[in-house]
């Protein structure tokens, strides 16, 4: 059903249908025109014949001879071919039908208007009525040939159209399927490009020169320039990293040297410590930005391997448990289900996700808050949730907190650089995992759903 719907939606198939309809309409119109032209010609030939016959009767001068001749002709003529009716001013009428409707001049008379005494007559007649001798003569000739010709033409049209229709339908379907295949390739490539695989290209057959191949070429050209642009941007960020980090390294060295080689008062020591902490902060923010750029670049994607989330969660949990306790928070790990929790991923990045979320919870909730990490298998894949019972994030803010360097007004004073959640979001995207922030009433729940892995 879906395939049928898709076929109907396909542009080439629709075009074929429109073309076929136009073809049918135009052949019907041209055949009809031909039919009417031929019929008119035929009618005028008939009229000539009738006139000729009338003329021969008019040539007979004697009324009695005329009546004799008409009686003969009426008797010998088959009414389905020729109807003769003579109504003399005096005497009995002559006719090979019981009654022919009265007409004046020229008329086309249908079968049902004629009283034919049960004899076989034609469907339609071309009739003329005029005075001949001393009476009114009607000569009507059959138009059956016209009808027969019409029927022949209808069958010609029908028989001619069936193979055309079949051919058009089959070739339309083939063209549509080919086009759909090409469009499918373009769509797959675009999806890959969107997900960050910048090396994706539409396969192109050099011998094909249709418009879809042109579009494929344009898509590839666009992807190439995009890839080059990203590469140069990455180069630029690497260059900036190098250019800025070297001076920062020097500052760090100078601070160390001041600390080592000069005698300082306590106040000066404090200032130096603060300078050291600030340089550290700059470096860390920088590092996080670079890492974000790299993850979003997608190059890490090739390195994703089967990774056990259970082991990752336990490592991080056991690492941060002490910190949570120290800060007066409760940290709980709940693993629902046995065995491994395999996802395709990078162990270090996944561990960073879990750590970032737990540390967010520790940082942004009041003392005594509980932070809970739950790992479970769901229908959709593997679910990881980190929830707290702190103040939570207002719904309007939830979108924003995933943006890099965004910090909510109230968290400006706490440490952190506003990159933690953007990093989480980028890592989730890299792993094809769904990330959602919701209300824990009270508090925040961050849910991540990793897709099922194909067993390989």
């Amino acid at each position: 059903m879906q395939r049928v719907l898709r076929s109907i939606r396909s542009t080439p198939l629709r075009l074929t249908a429109i073309l076929v309809t136009i073809f049918i309409l135009s052949s019907v119109v041209s055949f009809a025109t031909a039919y009417f032209v031929i019929r008119a010609t035929f009618d005028s030939t008939l009229e000539d014949e009738i006139n000729q016959r009338v003329a021969t009767y008019q040539a007979i001068d004697d009324q009695n001879d005329l009546i004799e001749r008409l009686k003969d002709d009426a008797e010998t003529s088959k009414p389905e071919l020729l109807i003769l009716q003579y109504l003399p001013d005096q005497g009995s009428p002559i006719s090979n039908v019981r009654h022919f409707p009265p007409i004046s001049g020229r008329a086309i008379i249908a079968e049902r208007a004629i009283d034919h005494r049960g004899r076989e007559i034609a469907e339609s007649y071309l009739a003329r009525s005029m005075r001949v001798g001393r009476g009114q003569l009607i000569v009507a000739q059959t138009r059956n040939q016209v009808f027969e010709m019409g029927e022949i033409m209808v069958s010609v049209v029908l028989i001619g159209l069936i193979p055309t229709l079949l051919f058009a339908a089959v070739s339309g379907a083939i063209v549509a399927r080919n086009a759909r295949r090409k469009i499918g390739k373009i769509q797959t490539t675009l999806a890959e490009l969107t997900s960050g695989a910048m090396e994706a290209r539409v396969p192109i057959n050099a011998s094909e020169t249709d418009d879809l191949s042109d579009i494929s070429k344009s898509v590839n050209a666009m992807a190439s320039s995009q890839e080059a642009l990203i590469a140069s941007m990455r180069q630029v960020s690497a260059d900036i990293a190098h250019d800025l980090k070297t001076p920062i390294q020097r500052v760090a060295v100078i601070i160390e040297q001041i600390a080592d080689k000069t005698k300082l008062s306590d106040g000066q020591e404090d200032l130096l410590d603060r300078a050291r902490a600030e340089t550290d902060g700059i470096v860390k923010t920088f590092q996080a930005l670079l890492q974000l750029a790299q993850i979003e670049g997608g190059a890490v994607r090739d390195r994703l391997v089967s990774t056990d989330l259970r082991a990752v969660a336990i490592d991080v949990f056991e690492f941060l448990e002490a910190e949570a306790e120290e800060q007066g928070h409760g940290l709980h790990l709940q693993i629902e289900g046995e065995g491994q929790f395999i996802v395709r991923g990078d162990r270090h990045l996944l561990s960073q996700v879990v750590a970032n979320l737990i540390q967010n919870g520790l940082r942004h909730t009041a003392v005594g808050s509980q932070i809970k990490v739950v790992l479970k298998k769901t229908d959709k894949g593997i679910g990881l949730t980190v929830s707290d019972n702190g103040a939570g994030i207002p719904e309007a803010e939830r979108e924003h907190v995933l943006r890099r360097l965004y910090r909510m007004e109230k968290s400006r004073t706490t440490d952190g650089n506003g990159l933690g959640l953007s990093l989480v979001a980028a890592i989730c995207a890299l792993h094809g995992a769904e990330l959602a922030l919701s209300d824990n009433a009270p508090g925040l729940v961050v849910s991540i759903t990793f897709p099922k892995t194909d067993p390989r």
Partner: protein, 223 residues
């Protein structure tokens, strides 16, 4: 140890050399990749410290070339590029360790020490011993002065790591990598918390402190 430093920034290079010489190493410094490569292939060094971005030949190509000539001197990469990818690239090229700039000198010195000793793989001992502290790796039991000490698995792993490297400073990042497999900066001093808990069990009830804090570097258990 005999060390080779290839670093194009003179301030950083000078600082590294001064510090390492103060620690008693003999250090050669080169500021370009091509010079460094020549020196690396002719000199006999214990550890090489190579910056990734160098004029001439970059650090990665330099180490690849060296490894191609069967030179297996341990290499520590210094870099401004700290992404996961760069790290892997460095290690794949034949680097043995990786340090992101800016770094604290203590971190560098501890890592050089670890690299310099790496080849000496000893027989797997069953009992690790320092002073009156004993760790049995088979029964996973720890005793000090005859008293059994109850440790959580990670506490055991942390103590084992320090005991196996007794006398050598282990930085906080080295401990995080080895014990919890955490390879990024968690921006927290949680290692200190773990150490202080371990001390609470191993050191506090006893007279002598075995786990020593090395200022500006990390921790060490004295031999």
């Amino acid at each position: 140890m005999k060390l080779l430093v290839i670093e194009d920034d003179k301030t950083t290079g000078g600082y590294i050399c001064d510090g390492l010489r103060e620690e008693g190493h003999s250090v050669d410094l080169f500021t370009s990749g091509s010079e460094g490569l020549i020196q690396a292939s002719i000199g006999q060094y214990d550890v090489m410290i190579v910056d990734r971005m160098l004029p001439g030949i970059d650090g990665i190509s330099l180490v690849k070339t060296l490894r191609g000539t069967k030179n297996n001197t341990p290499v520590l990469f210094l870099t401004s590029l700290g992404g996961v990818d760069d790290r892997i690239e460095g290690l794949n090229a034949g680097g043995d360790d990786y340090l992101v700039k800016p770094f604290a000198f203590g971190e560098l010195s501890a890592r050089i020490a670890a690299l310099g000793r790496r080849p000496q793989i000893q027989d797997e001992p069953v009992v690790l011993k320092v002073a009156d502290l004993e760790m049995n790796l088979l029964s996973r039991k720890v005793k000090r002065a005859g008293q059994a000490i109850d440790l959580l698995p990670r506490e055991f792993a942390l103590l084992e790591h320090l005991l196996r490297r007794k006398g050598r400073v282990q930085t906080r990042t080295m401990l995080m990598e080895a014990v919890w497999d955490i390879h990024y900066d968690p921006m927290t001093n949680v290692v200190d918390t773990h150490i202080s808990r371990l001390r609470g069990k191993v050191d506090k009830p006893f007279e002598r402190e075995l786990i020593e804090t090395v200022r500006g570097s990390g921790y060490r258990i004295d031999a």
